[in-house]
């Protein structure tokens, strides 16, 4: 059992949440930048690309030997521009409330993925120690 299928989709999800929090932090940092367009990661699209065995974009490194780690991050690409709620005079499409809410929700999702992985590690530890540890 390799660690990759032990933790299932959660390691990939963690990668996506991390990437998304970076994008959202960028939006918040540029909340007052003229002509800055807010961006976001389309989670379902990224997850579909990450969980599909065949890489749609074909940019991932081949991993012919078991245990090799693929080179391309799952969360690259799939960046999309947010549809603004209301027009602004300076062309900036960052809505601070929306970004804050998305950032907070993203943090919760990240913690959820973390706790799934922690549960798997606990399970494995129980299997190793036979419940003695």
């Amino acid at each position: 059992m390799t660690p990759d299928n032990l933790f299932g989709i959660h390691t990939k999800a963690l990668d996506v949440w991390q990437r998304r929090s970076e994008v959202l932090a960028n939006n918040l940092a540029n909340a007052d930048t003229p002509d800055y367009k807010a961006r976001d990661v389309d989670f379902s699209k990224v997850l579909a690309a990450a969980s599909g065995a065949a890489d749609a974009d074909g940019v991932s490194l081949a991993t012919p030997t078991p245990g090799q780690i693929g080179g391309a991050s799952a969360a690259q690409g799939a960046l999309e521009y947010r549809v603004p709620n209301q027009p602004t005079m300076d062309g900036n499409t960052v809505d601070e409330q929306v970004e804050q809410a998305a950032f907070a929700a993203n943090g919760v999702h990240y913690q959820a993925s973390l706790s799934f992985i922690t549960a798997q590690i606990r399970m494995l530890r129980t299997a190793i120690t036979g419940g003695q540890g």
Binding site: Q18, R19, S21, E22, V23, L24, A25, N26, L28, A29, N30, A31, D32, T33, P34, Y36, R39, Q76, G77, L79, E96, Q100, F103, A104, G107, Y110, Q111, L114, I117, T118, I121
Partner: protein
């Protein structure tokens, strides 16, 4: 580790907003400054922000990595003049020229800048907590 780059991003946001707060402080401090010519009068200043494009990849993936201060602009609003012959800075005709700072604009700017600064601090705090949880993974 992309969570660490968030510290840089939020830090650049905080730095940019503090420049903005600095110009607001300078503008408010000079709101009542006078000069003997319109050229020498204090003009209201405001920083101009621009997104930092660092990640070079496919055109679609070029993504901002923080914010920077592109420059500081000076307001082109008219400089008001006052007739004050007794003022030591008055010119030959007895006029002094005051700054074109609008205190209401500056206060609005100050509130906006401090809110944005707080947003960036909040982002940094959340990221720190997430990193801490990641370090505690498996405990």
């Amino acid at each position: 580790m992309s969570l660490f780059t968030i510290f840089n991003v939020a830090g650049s946001g905080m730095a940019a907003q503090s420049v903005r707060l600095n110009t607001v402080a300078s503008n408010l401090a000079n709101a009542d400054s006078v000069a003997s010519s319109p050229e020498a009068a204090y003009r209201s200043r405001e920083p101009l922000f621009a997104a930092v494009q660092q990640r070079v990849g496919l055109a679609d993936q070029a993504q901002a990595e923080g914010v920077r201060v592109a420059g500081v602009t000076e307001s082109q609003a008219a400089i008001p003049s006052r007739y004050e012959p007794g003022n030591p800075l008055a010119n030959a005709d007895g006029y002094v020229y005051s700054s074109n700072v609008n205190p209401v604009d500056e206060l609005v700017n100050m509130i906006s800048a401090s809110r944005s600064y707080q947003n960036n601090v909040e982002v940094m705090n959340s990221t720190r907590q997430l990193l801490q949880k990641t370090l505690d993974l498996g405990k």
